[in-house]
């Protein structure tokens, strides 16, 4: 079962707070980026390579982020930039596997427009989770239980020990707030 707190705590840092530091070569921002997005990068590359290779590619990705930090566009999500690097490194890695069997589907999903879409989806998911993390705790809690643990409103009321009407109200307010953030482009 997914821990509610693990989701919201995992998106605590906000890109804009450290993107400029990252671009300017601030080591703390670099460490924050690794803490914030390291698991995402590993999850992403793990779709194409083995576990050990994924760890290696994750390190390579952040090493390259460090080397080319001045190319970061701070007006865009940092994760998109990082996943772009991870994608290139994954392609290079699979191309070098001359003697191994290379998964054709992995190559296709990396190099085609499908690869672009996957990166976009991961970036969007991270943005939504950022937005979710900024909601007040009561609203965030019911939304996470409903959408990340697939509980019904009745089950949420039982889990939290609150009336069903309170769950409905918190959920309605939370979704409205989230939609407003999405519309304003204010998720980060």
């Amino acid at each position: 079962m997914t821990d509610v707190n693990s989701i919201t705590q995992g998106v605590g840092a906000r890109d804009l707070d450290y993107a400029a530091g990252l671009r300017d070569g601030d080591e703390r921002a670099f460490e924050l980026a690794y803490r914030e997005h390291g698991a995402t990068v590993r999850n992403y590359v793990r779709r194409f390579v083995t576990v050990d290779e994924a760890d290696d590619l994750t390190q390579q990705t952040f090493l390259e982020l460090w080397r080319f930090h001045d190319r970061l566009d701070v007006s865009k999500p940092v994760l998109g930039f990082i996943l772009g690097i991870a994608r290139k490194r994954s392609i290079d890695h699979l191309r070098r596997r001359r003697h191994d069997v290379v998964d054709v589907n992995a190559i296709r999903s990396l190099m085609s427009t499908e690869g672009d879409a996957l990166v976009d989806q991961l970036v969007w998911a991270a943005e939504v989770e950022h937005g979710l993390a900024t909601l007040v705790a009561e609203q965030r809690e019911v939304l996470v239980l409903a959408h990340f643990e697939d509980l019904t409103q009745v089950e949420i009321a039982e889990r939290l020990g609150i009336p069903l009407g309170t769950v409905k109200a918190r959920m309605a307010r939370g979704m409205k707030k989230l939609a407003e953030k999405i519309e304003r482009g204010d998720l980060l």
């Binding site: 989701i7 989806q121 979710l132 409903a146 990340f148 009745v154 309605a172 999405i182």
Partner: protein, 220 residues
Amino acid sequence: MTIHFDEDLAALLAGELSGDATRCAMAHLRHCGECTSALIDVAVAHGSLRSAHRNSIVTPSEQVEPLGPLVIPAPRWTKVVTLAASVIVVVALGIALVSVAGQSSSPKVSAVASLRHLDGPVEASGSAVVHVLPSALEMSVSTRNLPAAPPNHYYEVWLLDPTANKMLPLGLLSPKGSGTFSIAKSLMIQFPAVDVSLQANNGVAAHSNVSVLRGDVRTV
């Protein structure tokens, strides 16, 4: 008084309403601009949260399998100093090589390591220089004041991951205490240190746990 459905829209999208309640909500939404507007918000939030869940960055397996430590490259000023020192070394080596052998300039240096004694004699030391070749990296290890290996023993060079305590053998040092080894580029990230061990010639390929020299590799 009109009864709005705005607080039931989430349940409607999640499929948690009964048939009657669903039909009732539908009939109401046909004529209620306020609830239709609210439905747009709920639909957008619902779809976005579904997407976030489907592509969630945090999975149970990731929670129990933490990421390894991040290898942070040396700060810029260190790089500059190291680069300057490396340039001097490379230039000096280049001049020496050209003057002695008439060869062309040295390949680019990508990393260096200063090797210090561990279990070996205090006066022993050494260095490792990683050169960039077209197809791979090449590490040249040289030692100073390292006594000749005892009978039926030899010195072996290893790449080391100090965090995971993993080691990868590179090869043997020559009787003169030096050696050159070809390395895949990815290994230099995975194994950020160099170790020289004293090995018994007993057919055991594993590290002897007698490390005479060791040093961290620094990129330049």
